[in-house]
Symmetry: C2
Subunit: 337 residues, 2 copies
């Protein structure tokens, strides 16, 4: 690259665009040879149903403890496919770059994307790059869309929770949101809180194998955190869920940071966590299967679906009370993903 | 909607987000019911190969004569799938909204997206919405990704052009770029130049039916225009292409505006045009098939692939000379799509 920052011309479609694509973006992300570059990727036929998802990432700051906007963007879409019970296969990458972005930052982000894709076993097969003038974006925004294959006939959906089901999670909550917040605000507590950003597709395969048709809902509690995601499930399935406060896993440093800042960890974003709603007879087998995977060693049961069907989410507190949990109106923490 | 502008909280994942999705975005774009909203869309199994593409749209201004960022985003991805010879099926929509965007503008854009999707026969099946603070984006950016089905075994690729092939186009060049530029700069000429933004998938079906395996390349000359797109084909296929200046279709008002502004219409973006590289024996049949479709009435032959194989693009000028055409380094017109 002749320039060490992104120029408007890098988005022109002309030789500067080709140079950026041919010497930086494509070699790092996918290694497609020049003659094979076309407007769309052509992929093999797939047996079984398909899953298709999209997510844009605008996190601020773009680098934070435990990850950056690049691996976040890959893992986020891998996980959305996994939450449908699909095997993630193909990812597209749409970059919106602000004029002036250091090429070194872009290179670091692209390398993180490729590493995350390799770790999750997905291929980056198509992409697009736009450049906007200084002040018209914030360094880099990334859209990732994904295609996956469903190898089963199960209906895994937010509307499938049933009375008696158990609610499981694969580890401590709030790490991603607090890592990003601490990094953004330059808080001293940032040193020991890291994002949990991770691909969950292999954990989902283990859960599917253990639960079969007893698996009712999978959701990753990202924006809005565990509370918002469970409230959505309550409303979609028209069931009541009761969480047990004492069984909620949360790291001391995250709990401490939340207490200082007046934030409720139940509403803080996660990027490597999933919620499993499973029939009670399979709960122990699923927990055992989760414990046997790297992403599931901290798995635990945090609540259950009650007999009622009014869409209520409640917390059984440490002193034995029942507290109703509603969604927040707006932002606890903006631009967390 | 209680607010008439986009607030940061509309991107929070909380109740404001749900209100925006449930009362505006989802009813207009896809009409998915609340209980069916999940992280990924689950789609039927498809026989045959798949095509997958992505594109982000950052056009300025967001409304221009002949279209807006919404129908541009749908048609752009429909056309990228069509250029692979695929039948476009499913579209994802990723919105990045700037705080303060008028809800009325968003509603107008969403309606245009749905109308464009209906016109092209594709379904919007999944989406994502992010909000960034004022000054961190420019009103609205849209990513669309698309999945299509290939119903044939042809290899339609920029690397498939062969000596002797004819180069066809379906109508006049430069309309989109000049419409956007005129609208952005408030030029008086804007009154009579309109974007050619249109879906090309049905035109492609007609071309496929007429050409079969004689169809070698399909490309839509968007960013960089006809010249950049043909130069890419020259390089990918390692062939020489010669254009005939007198046969290039261009409207008088576009030619006049280009002359005044010192722009070369060969490098101006189109959003409803395609270039066809086809074996000579099928060229007339393909032209006839194109003429029988609404998007192809202006189809004409503009050049041919010569015997040489050095990746050169040349223009036979009106006075009989041969002028070499190279890609531009950077921008003639930034943020054209």
């Amino acid at each position: 690259m002749k320039s060490d920052i992104i120029l408007l011309g890098h988005g022109s479609g002309g030789t500067l665009s080709h140079q950026l694509l041919d010497t930086l973006i494509i070699p790092i992300l996918s290694a497609v040879a020049l003659p094979d570059q076309n407007d769309a990727a052509v992929l093999p036929a797939e047996s079984g149903r398909l899953a298709f998802t999209t997510d844009s990432f605008v996190v601020d700051p773009i680098f934070f403890p435990g990850g950056n906007i690049g691996d976040l963007a890959i893992n986020g879409t891998v996980n959305d496919l996994a939450m449908a019970g699909a095997t993630p296969l193909y990812i597209s990458v749409g970059l919106i770059l602000e004029e002036g972005l250091p090429i070194a930052d872009l290179r670091r982000i692209l390398h993180s994307m490729r590493q995350a894709a390799d770790a999750a076993g997905v291929s980056i097969v198509t992409g697009d790059t736009k450049v906007v003038p200084r002040g018209k974006a914030d360094r880099i925004f990334i859209n990732t869309s994904g295609v996956g294959r469903l190898e089963h006939e199960l209906v895994i959906s937010g509307s499938s929770a049933r009375p008696g089901d158990r609610v499981l999670i694969n580890g401590p909550i709030g790490d991603h949101g607090m890592a990003v917040l601490a990094s953004r605000e330059g808080l001293a507590l940032q040193s020991d809180i890291k994002s949990d950003c991770a691909p969950l597709n292999r954990l989902v395969q283990a859960i599917l194998a253990a639960a079969g048709s007893d698996l009712h809902v999978l959701r990753d509690p990202t924006r809005g955190g565990v509370a918002t995601t469970l409230k959505e499930i309550c409303l979609q399935s028209q069931v009541d869920i009761t969480l047990d406060e004492l069984s909620l896993p949360i790291r001391d440093n995250v709990a401490g940071a939340c207490a200082i800042l007046g934030l409720d960890p139940l509403f803080v974003a996660n990027e490597g966590k999933l919620l499993v709603v499973v029939a009670p007879d399979s709960a122990d087998a699923v927990l055992a299967a989760m414990h046997a995977t790297p992403e599931g060693v901290g798995a635990t049961c945090i609540g259950e679906v009650g007999p009622g069907g009014e869409g209520r989410l409640r917390l059984r507190t440490a002193i034995g009370g029942l507290r109703s949990i509603e969604m927040l109106a707006g932002e606890q923490l903006p631009r967390i993903c």
